[in-house]
Symmetry: D2
Subunit: 400 residues, 4 copies
């Protein structure tokens, strides 16, 4: 079992993640993680903070001489901005409680529900944790899982397919590797025409003090058939992935494969007919091939061996520079919602975060199916399974 936990406030001292269950023997350097942290900071439409900070991870444990040792991996990313917030965010009692207090909750954010639930007078106690900055810790932990999956030939990428109402045309085939191709665009979009429009839309929104949402498509290639399971609702991989993606701040929809569109098609057009794979085809689908991938690589809550494809939709950010109507928690008086420094859009970054969440869930699915306390053991077990799949094909009298 691979599991992870995060901690840390947006303007606190640091973000922290503990990732547990990664097999020993995986080569890992801070640079592997920093590369993902950098990807998360990119994207046209980010605010000032992204320019201040260059997130850098400190690996506090679980790695020695460049290799995982099987122990929990603790990752720490300092908030460089903390220097400016040390009084407001001080752990110690005594700081001026009125400073940077937030009592006019932002519609769409956790501010109001959180302040009521946790009975806080200052909604800053909520927003500091509910802030999307928390995803720094997820991306850091996900970067480790990404490395693990790469050892099994799994490649994870994403690209922006809609932003601010502008939908991108999809290329006939997705580039490999997808992550780098998307990163080359300021909005992580593969359609150069849409890209230009998206950038313009962002500029316009910034002027209007408004924010923008969008949709990222996540694509995972190279997964072996049979991850997840149909036998229990909470072992199904579709549910586990949906939970992981829907838990990203501001995400309001998750679609797998055709998603909503599948609901409108007849069965004769909504499934992926099964054929025999050509000799020499990738072994991970067990000798079967599909001309289409409407299921997005998941059938019965299990991977098919085809690419896992999903869309994750994010609403516009809740912090508007031209604030929405709210109520002051102290007085009950109508008031404009408080504004914090924020981005116009974070959709490009959200794709990177969705990749990280996919990596965390899928690495766990590998650990579940294959066990393995060392990379060598996991590799041997995966290899044995691939050979088992080959054998079945062999029984057809066909060369795998």
């Amino acid at each position: 079992m691979i599991r992870f936990t995060t901690a840390g406030e947006s303007h606190g001292r640091a973000l922290v993640a503990i990732l547990e269950g990664v097999p020993a023997g995986l080569a890992l350097a801070a640079a592997d993680i920093d590369a993902e942290l950098t990807r998360r900071m990119q994207g046209y439409g980010r605010g000032g903070r992204m320019k201040i900070e260059a997130d850098r991870v400190q690996i506090l444990s679980g790695v020695r001489a460049g290799e995982t040792i099987g122990a929990p991996i603790a990752l720490l990313v300092e908030n460089k901005d903390f220097a400016n917030w040390s009084e407001v965010m001080a752990v110690e009692a005594g700081a001026d409680p009125a400073k940077r207090r937030l009592t006019r909750p932002r519609p769409g954010h956790a501010d109001l529900a959180g302040a009521l639930k946790y009975d806080r007078r200052d909604a800053r106690d909520v927003l500091e944790r509910s802030s999307a900055r928390e995803t720094v810790a997820r991306v850091a932990a996900g970067a480790v899982c990404r490395r693990l999956l790469a050892a099994f030939g799994v490649e994870i990428g994403s690209h922006v397919v809609a932003l601010g109402g502008i939908e991108a045309a999809l290329p006939a085939t997705l580039p490999v590797p997808l992550d780098r191709a998307a990163d080359a665009s300021p909005v992580r979009c593969l359609d150069p025409v849409a890209e230009v429009e998206m950038v313009a839309r962002i500029d316009a929104a910034r002027k209007e003090g408004d924010t923008l949402g969008g949709v990222a498509e996540v694509v995972v290639r190279g997964l072996v058939v049979g991850l997840g399971s149909h036998i229990a609702w909470d072992r199904r991989l579709d549910g586990r992935l949906a939970a992981a993606w829907m838990s990203i701040p501001a995400v309001k929809a998750v679609e797998i494969g055709l998603g909503v569109q599948a609901a409108h098609l007849p069965g004769s057009e909504a499934h992926d007919e099964i054929a025999r794979a050509a000799p020499g085809a990738a072994r991970n689908a067990g000798g079967f091939a599909r001309a289409t991938n409407r299921a997005g690589g998941l059938e019965g809550g299990m991977t098919t061996g085809g690419p896992l494809v999903a869309r994750v939709a994010m609403k516009p950010l809740s912090t508007l520079m031209r604030p929405l109507a709210s109520v002051d928690l102290e007085t009950g008086a109508a008031a404009k919602a408080q504004a914090e420094r924020s981005d116009v859009t974070a959709v490009p970054a959200m794709g990177v975060i969705a990749e990280a969440m996919a990596a965390l869930v899928l690495a766990d699915a590998y650990a579940e199916k294959f066990g393995g306390d060392s990379l060598g053991e996991m590799r041997r077990n995966v290899g044995g399974y691939l050979a088992q799949l080959d054998e079945r094909r062999g029984a057809w009298g066909v060369e795998p």
Copy 2:
């Protein structure tokens, strides 16, 4: 913590659920559960089985003299059809293995991935469990949670908003109670015009040996503000609900509130401005009101106190009477997928199942926030929280 587990094959002896953590003192009768099982069997477009079976639950434990006692509640629903399958599904060794064997997997179903993963020669070993009949056990367990939530004024309903490509017009306001209003329609649709078209579309699909998917909207009213939490990814209620819904067989998309649509709107049009509630307003939102509900009642992974609204989209069923192309697992030869008796569509039932999953997740969220081993204790704790919310309002100098 309220948790549940299910077991049982589609044509096996019975479906079983164990539901654990329900407080003592809740009035409960088998009829409460049977009513939900009956709702699950309804819907135009179901196949022959629905006519054969009238599912009836046996409460095996956890209830005494008409009241829960705090112990695990075991629920058993016999498969009446088992009489016809007793040889094929026999637990004992010795039955003819060739009988009703499935070696030509259905595209879209768990058959292929499951047979490879679990290394089964007969994909029946997979489909019997991956079948949507498993949801009988979920609906039974969910019915108990529904009763628990009703004790707190929570009402759960759903209606079909699209089926086979036909989209329903939405009424200006949803009827109360929603479940009964929807159940009055053969396709559980509130739009009588669309209803007629949907029925016709089902008839047409049946003739063509095809199947249909669709979308149900789930609505939960009366929830208190602050269920779920922003503090950790796996405590967020949006993620937990998404997992629950996406784990329903054939579901490929989950949208909360505006869902995908929110991604295309500017922030100024995508959030729900906050106002002070009118005197005498429901206490569960803590004295705040929203003119809109674009967030679907969830902000920051927590309930807002407004209605929880989500859409769950289901692809068409994978068993077509005019089967799709497949491959014979034994020989590797191209073949038509095997056909089992099946429905043309199960979208109306899926809404009922989605209600059950919502009930299971939300009952757990109540247990998490309020604890309570008896209904009286839970009620007292909820009451104390409502008074706490009132008090805050009282501080405004406003009569709650």
Copy 3:
């Protein structure tokens, strides 16, 4: 992950277990489970119920044609005595609430704490679930895990080492298989002299209306080195086993290896020196041997490859025929505790239950380390690990 859940009251309709995560392809028959249920019913000192009932399992799901299919295994054991309790234990409202009511809680039992916690007027609502009859479901589920472990050469047994204050002399070497050898004794004791004394002590206690406790030693042979883990407190196998055993009703102590005795010895006498295994030695300890087994086969929360040895101590049963002082819950008046039909001692049975709990925990530990959705896959992965251990030895220039 292998997990299980149980439900059922002592005099209710049935006990139920759902066991999830057992790989497909394991040969399994009801008789395999019944054999363990029979072992659980044995033991000198049991009351009348054991004579009435011969527990027989019904496998409701998860097994087909004599083999597991990977799906959850639901097991049901009817309470034959239910016929006599159908009114008292009726699920339906309306039965006479005064019948068989328990308001004078038994010291030592869950009655009092449970009635207060769950706010029940009738402590029967508590005792029916807290009764040790619940362990029928554990033994049934454990029997399946036992079969799984047997496929890997793991043998689980137990014997009574103390009963009613009489301590057994230990044989120089334990018989193989241990379970059968112990079962041959009416008190499951390997020391024939102590056995006679124990039987006499039981007879005496019965006359006095008293009850007796005792200690069982659990021994598991054939485990591979490296199950469990040192990396996190809740992955350590010692802790997981301690939880499983301490959760058996009336158990008050768990000792691993030398247990408490180890605390009184110097380090030079408390550990097991490491030597090289002789050529041809069992492969599961990785080429190492120990002349002693003071650690009980667990070091650092992991198996050493030597026998797992632990002692589980059970207090005397809480239901005395000559009852202890109590208080009537209704009136607050001093009163004698209520007596229910009960046994004089259940120590022999407790050993069987402790075996079952060990099987459940250890099967999960195998699933965790080796993954595997089919027995073949798990076997291949275990085999690969054994070869890995051999290889290390091979590097010494020694023939494994």
Copy 4:
């Protein structure tokens, strides 16, 4: 739900804990945690490291202006000794792998099993995590839970009842607060005669290059009746506590109440008769009193409202200065086990660690029964339950 995770190696950069689920509004300062860390470092018989290091916690998140905010609390304790180990323990590749390598595993330690399981050539990759230094993180997290429990009048202490074979005489009544009274002794023992002998035994063992184990008694006072539950094996508090304590490095036995001794007594002498509490008695036992506490405050897996009393037995440390026989992992040759700087005994510290584990489990049990996202809410819910208990007593016509 309150849960925690730890990370960190013995000579790595730091130990880290993330504690999640603590309600908002709890006053908390680093000094509260440091006090427990200091207690953990005390004890006659510790080695040189304890003199080098004065562990100090950094609270990285979850606390603001001296109060918890409901968010995960990340705690970091630097290893001051890291300066001397920075090359050996470097995260980066490139360090000389031969330095401080451990290839001669210590009997009793995780070295051998861990090196085989995780397939490491250098057992340092194992011992660095399996080291008892990991418990720094547990004590830090436990200190927070201790503060939470203190808000409900719960007091946790421990004292050493045996060390190196010397057993302490028990005082007629335990001092209040127990922790401070025990801390006043260099071996945390309340018996001054035994204390002198223990110190002498430690001195002797040090000279002989040997190590010593012992037993600590943990006592928790002020718990409310009804924590934990009888309804499911893994909700029982006895099992959860046993897991927590048995997971402490070197612990080999856990006894609750009379423990093993209870197994040898007749039922008439092994239970705690129930009486009515005197007017004005503590409310947390619900109006009942016991003259004895043989059950150790746990019946049916639930608290009785009396003191929770358990004994935790620790074997002698596995690192001997006069090393035991071992085998070199590289060559297979017989060799003396490697020696690391170590303590003669850590029994006094183990008691403090056992207190911390108790605090973590019991705080979770409070969260489970009472819910509550703010301290005020949890307090209100506990208060309501106490009033419910009072009311029952009131029905007797007795003034509570």
